[in-house]
Structure formats: C-alpha cells, structure tokens
C-alpha cells in the first residue's frame, strides 16, 4: 500500500503524530495550564498567554519553531529562534520593556519619601538568600545568580540576567518569576501578618507632600547618572527605564511617551512571551532542575518580603514618624501588585487606612534595586 502511494507515505511519515513522546504530552499539559490560568484566572495574562502558546508550539514534534532548518541558503533560524536570538539573548527586549515600564511609572511617591529607597534595597534580601540556597543545591554561581534574581519579582530583569548568565535556565526562571508575581497576593500576606503586630499594621502615615514637575523631570536624569556610574552593567536596563520616565515627565514628547507605554511594550511583550515559552521544549525542561527553581523562587519571594518588612521595623526604632511595616513588603518590584497587597492588608487592620501611595515608593524603588542587583551580579560573575 505504502509503495503504491509514496508521496502519501511521505506526508504521513512527516506528520507530527508519529513522533509524539510522553514528554511532549506533559509539556502540552503545562502549556494548557498556563493558558487556562491566564484566560480563566487572569494570572499575568499578558505574559502567561504567549508563554503558554510558545510552550505548546515548540513541543509539537517536527515543527520548525526554535531550531535551525536547512533552507535555500544553508542552515537558517526558525521563526521564534529569530525572536530569541535577536531579542532575548542579547537583552534587547527586556530593555525595551523597561522603557515602557519607565513611561508607565510615577516616581513621585518615592521622590516625596526617599527613605523608601532603602526599603527597596532591603527587599533584595531574597535575591541573595535564594542565591545561597541555590549553590547549596548544587547550582553553579551563574545559575544561582539567575535563580536568585527571581526574588526581585521583576520579569524583564530576571530574563535579562538569565539570558546573560545561564540561558539554559531561561524558560524555568521566567516562568517561576511571572508565576510568583501573579501569586504575590497569596504569598505575601501570611508573611506580613506573621512579622507584624496588630498595632503596627494600624499605623497611619502622614500624607505625602506634592512633588513638583521639576523634581519629576530631574529625577530620571539624576537616577541615570548615579546608578549607571555606580553599576555600569545596569545601564542598559536603568538607562532605558529612566529614558521612558523622562518621556513621561518631560511632557514634550507625548507621542513617544504613548508609544513606549502602549505599542512598543505590547509588541515586544508578544515576542518576549512566545520566545520564553519556546525555550521550554520537553527535552530541555523535563528535569529536576525546574522543580528546584520553582522552590527557590518561592524562597526568594518569601525572604524578599521578610527583608522589606523587617527593615521598616528597624527603621521605626529610630524614626519619630513611624512607617507602617506593611509597606515594606512592597519593596519587591511586582508593580503595582505588591503595593496593592500592602493596601489591602492595611485596610484589614484599619478600614480607613490608605497605604497605596505610601507603598508605591518602595515598590518602584524595588525595580531600581533589582536592576542594580542584576548589574552587580553581572559585574562580579561575568
């Protein structure tokens, strides 16, 4: 029969069905779970949806998606491989996303209360705690650093650092980072309640002073110079973020500001999500390592929350005007989710307490802190 229809035989042999392995089926399950979580539960849908689809499509046997295929001009990159090599591997996409993040961020609460910058630094404790635990579990220094940065709760920074230090962990790290960012409202509150008393949770903070337009315009320039001079390897991320913020605050480039906030960030998010998902082929992903990475991500998030809350408690020993320790947890960068968690927890203790704007200070400081931590890892490990 097959000999009678050689062309049909060839077509049948080249369908994916005959090449399916159990690993592919497991990965489809993971892909569908992420797509389900994105659509039905609304967990970070802008990323989990394209990531889930990327996982699905790369685990369809024989599909030329992420490898190299023989073409008219020799070996050529497959579709998503182009996105990955030119967008992720050299760090372009995370930096462009940071430009959008900068254009979307109001640094006003942080400028009004610069002390919150130290909270953003303390909340990087989880990064270093997870780094240490990862080494204990047998990961090498570069892998451990890329896992630790999950604790910063900043997806683009995590992807940027992992692509530079341990690209083989990119899929697992990115997925862990975004999954835990979506789970901030579940992870943080028990830790926050455990570390604070009822009286501390009821602390009301004084209304912040208004921040002038001049301050808001000068801050991105000042931030660029200070951070990029101190940690030059953080310049690609920080430079782009502050450029986006300058677009926003200058008020003279509204078109660029809107493009950075909308079109640019949306387009690169598509490429980022699909490329990250496509790194998770069954043969690369189905090992014990991703399970460890997920556990370490949780350790990192928990310790980052602890670091932020405890620093506020220590600061309160010396301050006349007390800070509500619940805003300490917002030092992890998940913007604005972590700040909202502080607000919700604050209102559980006192219905009339409004912490959101106070929590935005450490929240945006956390973004600067995580990018600085990434730059320092690159400086020390590259």
């Amino acid at each position: 029969m097959a000999e009678s229809f050689p062309l049909l035989n060839q077509i049948v042999l080249n369908t994916s069905f005959l090449h399916i392995q159990i690993g592919h089926v497991i990965m489809w399950g993971i892909a569908f779970t992420f797509i389900y979580l994105a659509i039905k539960k609304g967990f970070e849908p802008l990323l989990l949806l394209p990531i889930g689809f990327g996982i699905l499509i790369v685990n369809l046997p024989l599909a030329p998606i992420m490898g190299m295929t023989e073409g008219a001009h020799g070996l050529q990159r497959d579709l998503v491989r182009w996105f990955y090599d030119f967008g992720i591997a050299n760090g372009i996409i995370p930096c462009l996303i940071f430009m959008g993040v900068g254009a979307l961020t109001d640094f006003g609460p942080m400028i009004a209360n610069p002390k919150t910058l130290t909270i953003g630094a303390a909340a990087q404790f989880g990064v270093y705690a997870a780094f240490f635990v990862a080494i204990l579990l047998g990961f090498n220094l570069k892998e451990a650093a890329s896992i630790g940065i999950i604790g910063g709760a900043d997806g683009p920074t995590c992807i940027y650092l992992t692509a530079k230090l341990a690209p083989h962990l990119l899929g697992a790290n990115a997925l862990a980072a975004y999954s835990y960012m979506a789970m901030v409202p579940l992870i943080q509150p028990p830790i926050m309640r455990l570390l604070t008393t009822e009286a501390e949770r009821k602390i009301r903070m004084k209304q912040m002073r208004p921040v002038s337009k001049t301050e808001k315009i000068i801050f991105p320039l000042l931030g660029t110079v200070v951070i990029c001079m101190l940690v030059p390897l953080a310049a690609p991320l920080m430079g782009m973020m502050f450029l986006g913020n300058l677009f926003r605050e200058s008020g003279v480039v509204e078109r660029l500001n809107k493009a950075a906030q909308n079109e640019l960030i949306n387009i690169v998010t598509i490429f980022l999500g699909v490329s990250v998902g496509a790194t998770m082929s069954a043969e690369k992903f189905l090992h014990p390592q991703p399970i460890f990475i997920f556990l370490l991500g949780l350790v990192a998030f928990a310790f980052s929350t602890v670091g932020g809350v405890l620093l506020v408690k220590v600061m309160n020993l010396f301050l006349k005007e007390k800070i509500n320790p619940l805003i300490g947890s917002a030092g992890v960068s998940a913007v604005p989710m972590a700040a909202r968690v502080s607000q919700v927890e604050g209102q559980r203790a006192d219905k009339h307490n409004f912490l959101l704007m106070h929590a935005m200070g450490p929240n945006v400081a956390g973004v600067i802190g995580t990018a600085t931590a990434a730059g320092l890892f690159l400086t020390m490990l590259k």
Binding site: L117, T118, F125, L141, V226
Partner: protein, 47 residues
Amino acid sequence: MIEDTWFFAFRVFMGGFSGVFMGLIILMYCVKLMSALILKLEVKKRD
C-alpha cells in the same frame, strides 16, 4: 575548589547585598539634595 566556590559565593552575597544598599542610599541622598535645591529655588522664585 569547593571551599573556593563558597568563599566566592559569600563575597558575591556580601558585595552584592551591600552594593545594592550603598547604591540606593547614595541615590536617596542625591534625591534629597535635589528636592531641597529645587524647593528652595521655587520658594525664591515665588518670593
């Protein structure tokens, strides 16, 4: 070799964490200075 790794990891831990703190504390003082100068100038302008 293993001891070397641990020693290096410890240095990365200490250097990294204190580096982040130092960086953000320097930025904090720069922001304070910037705000003080701008507010002073704005008050002067108004007067």
